[in-house]
């Protein structure tokens, strides 16, 4: 991916990846409701994670040559990019720890949850990643209006996900007796979704910041590290959910 795609090809690539991700998610759901093969779910999740990391988060940019002059924007962006990825690496250990707790405490069981709602919020978050990618691509090609339009859609979808989990899913689960204090399943469910929701919340704030700064004309096609950072962080939040969704909703038998 050393060459830069033209705008149309970049949009098309984002769309193709989104279709892949959607199909894989549907496959996951299908596997879970029919023959409960944990290994397939793990493989599908890994493929989805790899697709997001490569095509949406552009991890290969870590390898990009930057200007050698240490005060140049390009050099600083290279350093910032490394710093962001190191942060994400660190952050992923929190989620890995929560996943460990889930496996240790619940094993091959899972909390009884509303499957349709789970699939719906997952679809919403996945679509938000698609629009985030479109927004970033627009900014790369200097299309600020396109960036603002797509980022607002991302924001609305992200807010929808957040409310879907915290304001709809949580009360529904509590109504069915799954509360924070009800047992290990409840503790794990609220902690995992809560920690993820906190990250979605911070991602939303970042989106607002880059929207505001775009309005103030602080970004250009060449200089838009803030936009890239917010986008990569947003995709990371999606990536975490790619793993948490099967861990909470699909793997094992419902309690």
């Amino acid at each position: 991916m050393s060459h830069r795609l033209d705008k149309f090809s970049a949009f098309r690539q984002g769309l193709v990846i989104f279709v892949y991700l959607a199909v894989l998610t549907a496959l996951e759901y299908f596997v879970a409701v029919t023959f409960k093969a944990v290994s397939i779910l793990v493989v599908v999740a890994v493929i989805k994670v790899a697709l997001v990391m490569y095509y949406y988060m552009h991890i290969y940019k870590l390898n990009e040559e930057s200007d050698a002059e240490p005060h140049s924007y390009s050099f600083k962006t290279g350093t910032n990019r490394l710093g962001l990825w190191l942060f994400l690496l660190s952050d992923s250990f929190v989620f890995a720890g929560l996943l460990t707790a889930r496996v240790n405490l619940l094993g091959l069981t899972r909390p009884h949850l509303n499957q349709i709602l789970g699939l719906a919020v997952t679809a919403v978050l996945l679509s938000s990643s698609f629009f985030m990618n479109r927004g970033e691509t627009a900014m790369v090609h200097g299309d600020k209006k396109g960036f603002i339009r797509n980022t607002i859609i991302t924001f609305v979808l992200g807010l929808g996900f957040l409310l879907g989990v915290v304001a709809v899913e949580w009360p529904l689960a509590a109504e069915e007796g799954l509360t924070a204090g009800s047992g290990a399943a409840g503790a794990v469910f609220y902690m995992m979704t809560g920690m993820h929701a906190f990250h979605v919340f911070t991602g939303l704030i970042l989106l607002l910041v880059v929207l505001y700064k775009t309005r103030k004309d602080k970004y250009s096609a060449e200089k838009h590290w803030g936009v890239e950072a917010a986008a990569v962080y947003w995709h990371f939040v999606d990536l975490v959910w790619i793993i948490f969704y099967p861990a909470l909703y699909l793997i094992g038998t419902a309690l």
């Binding site: 490394l82 190191l86 660190s90 250990f93 460990t100 707790a101 405490l105 924070a180 204090g181 009800s182």
Partner: protein, 744 residues
């Protein structure tokens, strides 16, 4: 009085201040308790504090330090009085030992000191904000609880949820209030800031304010670490004194302080000694790395200067929270905080969790910065295999801090939530699993010891060639061994849990992985011995500490494999043998090299040398005392002395050994006091040393000390191997234009 020497005048003032405050103390205790007590803790604290203030006044007049001490005293008194009033209003009765009064005294005293020393500065602003934030958060929760009709009053005025949110707000307010995040907020609002800030402060005042210069931040870290080491050491001396004889002497069940009785206070001191020392080590490590790594790389600064300042300033409210845990009821779990005990411990444990969580973030972000700096900011020609060995150690350490630290934060956070919301992670009655906590906790807390020792071992490898005047033996292997220890260190954690009821099939693999650590460590020892072999060794103070480190760490290393072996560990687990073992590793891997590094790089930072005689006294006092301490611990440990207990059976016959251990502990404390005096005195009065004091090949010594703001005036290029001492014609770095340096 004019022609009396300042020291004599100081002691005269001391005597007056001491006697006056002593009398006042006796009076106060009489008023409070109705009986005449000549030896009371309060009296002694008052008298020694007043004495110290009077000494400072007599010796140096009404200087900034005197002013700071006076303000400290006034702040503490005001805080104490306010606390008593609050207690009277809320609880309806006057309680002289109300923890809230002690808490206010502590916080107001601290704030007063920094206000008195330098007026408005980042520390005092931060502390004032932290106090306000804590109160705002606590009152917020309390109001909500009142509105919801819940109980709003707790044993420490507020309820536990109120204190937790308050403490969390306190940290946020500290950072917002002292200005370490203001640039980021400006960026978010679309306001550009200059890449480098101009230094507004000169002299020592810049260390009390937010600075982006890695050298200033390194010193800030180091001083904070020394402060915390002193506090942690003081705690150790308190419980060491209690242990000097069997039975309870002064930490008795009748005494009451900070809402705890004597044995509870023992537990709190013992637990806090552990964690405060760990945090101080993390800060010490960060201090040396911050100061040295950019200089060794030839960088102008760290990769992210603002993040660097932010990481440091996170550590200050964290330290305050740890001290708050002492006063707010303490806790009795040891530094490990295992549930189910920690799920039932007093309120102090929540402050402890939050403090560790905050300090953990400081460590994570600092590590991120180090890795990014090493990857991105090396000077020309500095390929990986020509980096100074300390940089390799810093990278290896940072890999652990960056990733694993999240797990201790998470494990503590889960216990916090279990206490606050009844989430049953570690509660078997709710289907939870206490052993899960231990896995999460040790996944960081074992590699953490490599975070402590790897930089120290790096310092040894860095300094040894300088003083042996020979190339470092096996550079590549030493570099790789740091990474090897770090990576193997990730898969050994469960050796702490051989007795805790985890799955038995895990014992064997963890035993073997632990034994594997000996191999890369052995590589280092082999390199050190081979480097010394036939070297032209010189023995200035830093070299003494390097050699001491090697011997002490060898002792710690050799006592490790027995603990790793399952069958032996079942016997040794939770005995003083373990205590002796880990004090060996930490002293050999951190404390000795840390002192070596301070003596070695002190001239770089100040342009002056520390006093050699005092340095040698420090070394020759500390080393034998330490050997006595650790051998004694291991001996009674083998005989069955349990760790973490306030009292022991006189029938065991350990009284004599414990007395010797206590004396040895005090001698170590004395040697550190000598060091601290030497350190601060030499900043002003040390011999001038602006050149290449140690005849080092390292780039930072090729330019005059102290370094200017953005380090090297001229960039340098690496043209040779770093440690080719004694090879004629060899060169490590070449400066672009003739550097303005005086080569010795």
């Amino acid at each position: 009085m004019k022609n009396v020497s300042p020291v004599v005048r100081g002691w005269l003032f001391f005597a007056i201040g001491f006697i006056v405050a002593y009398s006042i103390g006796i009076g106060l205790v009489f008023v409070a308790s109705g009986s005449l007590v000549y030896s009371h803790l309060v009296t002694w604290i008052l008298a020694s504090f007043a004495g110290a203030t009077a000494y400072s006044w007599g010796a140096s007049g009404f200087s900034q330090l005197t002013k700071g001490l006076v303000w400290l005293g006034l702040g503490a008194l005001a805080g104490f009085a306010l606390g008593l009033v609050v207690e009277l209003v809320v609880q309806g009765s006057l309680n002289w030992v109300a923890p809230i009064a002690s808490l206010f005294a502590l916080l107001f005293g601290f704030t007063g000191f920094f206000l008195g020393v330098a007026g408005n500065n980042a520390v005092s602003k931060g502390l004032i904000s932290q106090i306000s934030g804590t109160l705002i958060g606590a009152i917020f929760v309390t109001v909500i609880r009142v509105l919801m009709g819940l109980e709003w009053k707790g044993p420490f005025i507020f309820t536990e949820p109120a204190w937790v949110l308050g403490a969390f707000f306190g940290v946020l307010f500290f950072l917002a209030g002292n200005g370490s995040v203001s640039d980021w907020f400006k960026w978010a609002r679309g306001i550009d800031t200059p890449e480098h800030h101009e230094e507004h402060y000169s002299g020592w005042e810049k260390y009390l304010n937010v600075s982006l210069d890695h050298k200033v931040i390194g010193v800030q870290y180091t001083i904070t670490a020394l402060l915390l080491i002193s506090i942690g050491g003081l705690f150790a001396l308190v419980f060491r004194t209690e242990l000097a004889a069997s039975q309870l002497q002064f930490l008795t069940t009748d005494m009451k302080l900070f809402g705890q009785n004597g044995p509870q206070l023992y537990n709190t001191f013992m637990s806090l000694h552990g964690m405060i020392m760990i945090v101080s080590i993390l800060l010490g490590v960060a201090g040396i790395m911050n100061y040295v790594v950019p200089l060794l790389l030839g960088a102008q600064d760290m990769a992210f200067p603002r993040l660097n300042a932010f990481s440091f300033w996170l550590a200050v409210p964290a330290a305050v929270l740890l001290l708050m845990s002492l006063i707010l009821g303490g806790f009795d779990t040891g530094w490990t905080g295992y549930p189910p005990l920690s799920a039932k411990a007093p309120l102090g444990i929540q402050m402890f969790f939050l403090g560790v969580f905050t300090a953990g973030w400081s460590s994570i972000l600092g590590a991120l910065n180090i890795i990014a700096t090493v990857i991105r900011m090396r000077s020309k020609g500095m390929i990986a295999m020509r980096m100074p060995i300390f940089v390799w150690a810093a990278v290896a350490t940072s890999i652990i801090s960056l990733t694993a630290t999240q797990l201790i934060g998470l494990s503590f956070q889960l216990v916090m939530f279990q206490r606050l919301f009844g989430m049953g992670f570690f509660d078997p009655a709710k289907g939870g699993n206490p052993v899960l906590f231990q896995h999460l906790f040790w996944f960081y807390s074992h590699p953490a010891v490599y975070v402590f020792v790897l930089p120290g071992l790096g310092v040894i490898s860095e300094l040894l060639p300088v003083f042996a005047r020979k190339p470092l033996f096996g550079y590549r292997w030493v570099a790789m061994s740091s990474l090897g220890i770090a990576l193997v260190g990730f898969v050994v954690w469960a050796h702490h849990m051989f007795t805790s009821g985890m799955n038995e099939y895990l014992r064997l693999p963890f035993m073997y992985s632990t034994l594997l650590v000996a191999i890369p460590t052995g590589v280092k020892f082999f390199s050190w011995v081979a480097t010394l072999w036939k070297g032209k060794i010189v023995f200035p103070t830093p070299m003494l500490f390097v050699l001491g480190a090697i011997v002490v760490f060898l002792l710690g290393g050799l006592t490790g494999p027995p603990n790793a072996t399952v069958s032996v560990d079942l016997h040794l687990h939770d005995t003083y043998f373990i205590v002796g073992h880990f004090h060996d590793t930490i002293f050999g891997g951190f404390v000795f090299p840390f002192f070596a590094a301070l003596y070695y790089w002190f001239p770089k930072a100040t342009g002056r040398r520390m006093n050699e005689t005092l340095g040698k006294i420090h070394f020759w006092l500390m080393t034998p005392s330490f050997f006595i301490l650790t051998f004694g611990m291991m001996r009674i440990g083998l005989l069955g002395m349990r760790r973490r207990i306030a009292d022991y059976d006189p029938g065991l016959g350990f009284d004599a050994t414990h007395l010797v251990l206590t004396i040895a502990g005090y001698l170590i404390g004395l040697s550190v006091l000598i060091f601290i005096y030497n350190f601060f005195n030499s900043i002003k009065n040390g011999d001038k040393a602006e050149g290449n004091v140690w005849n080092s090949r390292s780039p930072e010594w090729q330019v005059p000390s102290p370094m200017p703001m953005h380090n090297y005036d001229q960039p340098f290029e690496v043209v040779g191997e770093p440690y080719d001492y004694g090879l004629p014609g060899s060169q490590y770095v070449e400066f672009a234009a003739p550097a303005k340096s005086k080569h010795n």
